[in-house]
Symmetry: C2
DNA sequence: TCGACAGCTGAGAGAGCTCTCAGGTGTCCT
DNA sequence: AGGACACCTGAGAGCTCTCTCAGCTGTCGA
């Protein structure tokens, strides 16, 4: 499925005091093969970061103890250049521009999709570790999350960003069945409030593009659970 | 203007037999600070590539001598993993999916915008050299081509992809004046056939976002020539 | 001062993407 | 067999982005 790639031994620090979100991020990154440490307090985060062996840090702005800006500024002042991905609230209570000046490498506005977070984080972690890009493969299906390119056999399949995110979620876990709720969480974010039917709609779009033109179906429905991508 | 960044000594090989296009690519990459070698024949390209000191290779599919696929496949078979960016014609005479399987790291469909090419190429070259990402700065304006984020002073400015490309072209050459035709070539591609007035339209959009809300203008018109970004 | 031309901008068409909704289809259990 | 429920899908609304066009404004030179 995943070729020439491993994240084992790559450590990520997550600093976020929203328990549910932090757990969700942690679980997702562990599923990616990262070693994840989660702390809920700014000062804890700073101490951990100083230990120094993280490939990247996911840092919320709003934190008890010491806020994300200060953690970021302090680390940079100490000449610690571990890549930092800042999480900012959309209400703009804190100033997004500031993070830019403080030495954050990337930032993400809440609420964000899990797929986007891991994509950005992989890019950051790769930058510091120099590991090669990866291509997801399941049978004759191939998906390159970096260049956002998808092929089935000899055909190139054009995907919209949403379609790509859904397929990526499915392929990362193949051949496992991915529950519908997980897709919703990972692609639309844990606080999506629309019609969950959107998952079915997007699976439908995907099938039109990667199944309809071919003899064998790659996307299977597992009734009452979710979907899976199978070898074809 | 550009901080903590240099591409000097980073060599790029361009293999393309369309003279005009190859020259345009070469000029653009040299303006970026890359050392560029251009050859127009597949076999030449292969020999050059074997010399081995390139950070990345831009490789057209359609070539006299030996086509791009074969060059790519041969290099990989020889265990040469220099990052390759394939250029494919949009008419699909050659199969895009094939490049994927042959070990190309990225590919771009013609006609492409110069800004997109250099962005992808920088990503590839950085991957192999491990250099840090860069942020363009002119006065209080900052633009991160990697994360596509723009700020002026303390404000975050949301840009569409086209707007970003225009601003990036301007900022990369700041404080020089960028001729209107250069913007057209770099952002819309050398074979854009629409109304050149599009440049004025997009500069207008940019000004609405990065000048109107502020006291001092960052984008200046140089009548009869083009535009420039100045310190503000 | 006035004409010519460069540049500016508002209006709007067209395309693509996302999401909602409602009605249809299929499956499973009793 | 029939009902309940999961899933599928076509239609279409709303939005953003891109680009065209036409008319306006400002500038420069004669």
């Amino acid at each position: 499925m995943v070729m020439g790639w491993h994240n084992w031994g790559v450590r990520i620090l997550v600093v976020d005091d929203e328990q549910r979100l932090a757990r969700s991020i942690g679980r997702g990154l562990e599923a990616e093969g990262f070693d994840v440490d989660v702390v809920h307090d700014g000062l804890d985060g700073l101490w951990r970061a100083r230990e120094g062996s993280y490939a990247a840090i996911v840092l919320d702005i709003m934190l008890p103890g010491m806020n994300g800006y200060e953690v970021c500024r302090t680390l940079r002042a100490e000449d610690n250049w571990t890549p930092i991905l800042l999480l900012t609230a959309k209400d703009g209570e804190y100033d997004e521009a500031e993070g830019f000046e403080l030495g954050a490498d990337d930032y993400l506005r809440k609420p964000f999709s899990h797929v986007v977070l891991t994509a950005r984080l992989r890019a950051l972690a790769r930058r510091s570790s120099g590991a090669p890009a990866l291509v997801l493969r399941v049978g004759e299906l191939a998906l390159d999350p970096g260049t956002r390119r998808c092929t089935r056999g000899d055909s190139v399949v054009e995907l919209t960003p949403r379609e790509h995110a859904v397929l990526e979620s499915l392929m990362r876990r193949a051949p496992d069945v991915v529950p519908k709720q997980d897709l919703l969480d990972e692609v639309w974010g844990i606080d999506f409030e629309g019609d969950p039917n959107i998952v079915e709609v997007y699976v439908g779009y995907l099938r039109r593009k990667i199944d309809k033109p071919f003899a064998v179906n790659a996307v299977r429905t597992v009734r009452g659970v979710g979907y899976q991508v199978v070898e074809s």
